[in-house]
Amino acid sequence: MRLSAEIFRKIGNFCLDIKIESNAKRIGILGASGSGKSMTLRSIAGIETPNRGHIEIDGDVLYNSSKRIDLKPQKRNVGYMFQNYALFPTMTVLQNVLCGLKGTKEENLEKAMAMISRMGINGLENRLPGELSGGQQQRVALARIMVYNPRVILLDEPFSALDIYLRDKMQREMYELLADYKGQTLMVSHSRDELYRFSEEIFVVGDGKIMQSGSTDSIFNSPISVAIAKLTGCKNFAKIQVVNSHKINIPDWGVTLDLTREVPQDTTWIGYRAHLFEPVWGEKDSNCIKVRLVAKDELPFETNLYFAPEISSKENKIEDICWFIQGEMRKIVEQKGMPDYLKISEEKILLLKE
């Protein structure tokens, strides 16, 4: 099980230049819209042709510009789930599932019906896609792909067309349905939650390049740059000065921190996740930022608080610090009022490059 792709493609001012190699069963590609992640997927499926590069699955060449190999999408045996599912609107569910099959009529029908019942959409065989709910359409799309037994399944933002209530449920269901699929699955998304649940390995794409790759944990625990940390959901960033290999100064927050780990010399920023601050009332503790509340968002199960660091003024506006609180902490803050300081745990700081 090995997917290997090196894709170079230039369109106008945008340049896609990425390299993906993975043995993982479930691979995620994380990136903002316009980062080139969909184009990567489309190139693997053969819907778009790169300017140069190579694409291989388990050593079989699908595309190789120097050897002039460029298999048609029909010959690639790659399953592609489109964002809008691209079900054929004039065909019934059964006809949709049948259309990729090449065997005899009886064989095909048996296979298709088995897949339809595995996807839990029995009884809908004779419906048209337009008569189905979003979740049902997604299962039909998955059935249509899986029945064809592709070597790789590509999922292009598979949950973005679903409303928020269905999304969580469909994610769980899809991962279950994909569990007994033997090949690799590659999912493209801008949603960190979706990819965190799904992926064993993640490639972070930005502006047509791979910015970081590695196990899902490594991407979320130690993103290397501000852009990647943002994609993983980090909300607070500040420029820093490295004082020495275990000491940094964060002028915007008015703190100097001692770190047990070594600080790489090229660190220029730090990131801090919004739910990791500890509130401090009254007496100043070490590693504390003096703050005042500027805005407050009450959500059903969470409160988002926005603080200005003490140093921030009209002339020298500093980015607000976000602190998100839930459950117990919400009650404590309600009773004790807003904290005077937010305390940083040095081991939870993300050391980042620009």
């Binding site: 489309r42 999408p73 029909q74 489109f82 809008n84 004039t90």
Partner: protein
């Protein structure tokens, strides 16, 4: 009542048969040519597209007599193509029923082509991509996915083509002439009998054309209307 029966019995029905035959033949030809042209044109670059589209649409905007003039130039038995068709293949176009079909096809073709093209351009490209990744041949994708999805547009194009082909007058009269029982279509008969002062026969054929034309438009509205249920009136 008796006079009506007498009139209908004494009437030469050949114009209706000729017009229907011509309309059907021209529609079948335009259908396949129009789909083919539409498919080719949407794949072209923007510049080539506007040139080719202009040429293909020309017969619709030109006076039919101008189209008829060009057709005569091409198929005349004194010119290279006409000579070749006559001598090598024994095909005569001028002053024959085939001439009716050629003239009607040329004039009606743009309606088919433009409707098909507009319908194809509305199709979600991902449907075609999905067909390809599922291993379907280009032929199967076109006939099983693209054409059915573009169905309403293609159907209304076909009906308009048929109506236009059946009623063709200008180019037909120049290329095929008005030979009763051979190339004499309904529209040509109307002109002829009106000229000779037979307003009853002319009126009858006018009524036939009106009914057929209305039925065609009604059919289009029924077909396309089914797919646009949710249009809000304003």
């Amino acid at each position: 009542m008796e006079s009506i029966t007498e009139f209908l019995q004494g009437l030469d029905w050949s114009p209706l048969y000729i017009s229907l035959k011509t309309g059907i033949a021209a529609t079948i030809l335009s259908f396949f040519l129009g789909l083919y042209a539409a498919r080719k044109v949407i794949k072209m670059s923007t510049k080539a597209k506007s040139i080719v589209d202009g040429i293909l649409t020309l017969p619709m905007v030109l006076p039919p007599t101008v189209a008829g003039f060009f057709l005569l130039l091409i198929f005349s038995r004194r010119r290279p193509i006409g000579i070749f068709l006559n001598d090598a293949l024994n095909i005569q176009v001028v002053q024959t029923w085939l001439g009716c079909v050629v003239a009607a096809t040329v004039i009606a073709f743009p309606l088919m082509y433009r409707n098909a093209r507009a319908a194809f351009e509305q199709i979600d490209a991902n449907l075609v991509h999905a067909g390809r990744t599922l291993g379907m041949s280009e032929f199967a994708i076109f006939w099983k996915i693209v054409v059915p999805t573009a169905g309403p547009g293609i159907a209304s194009g076909t009906i308009l083509t048929f109506a236009r082909a059946m009623g063709e007058y200008g180019a037909t009269s120049m290329l095929a002439g008005n030979i009763p029982g051979k190339t004499g279509t309904v529209s040509q008969s109307i002109a002829m009998v009106t000229e000779s002062g037979d307003y009853v026969t002319a009126g009858f054929w006018v009524a036939v054309v009106l009914v057929l034309a209305f039925l065609a438009v009604f059919a289009i509205n029924m077909i396309t209307g089914k797919h646009i249920k949710n249009v809000k009136s304003w």
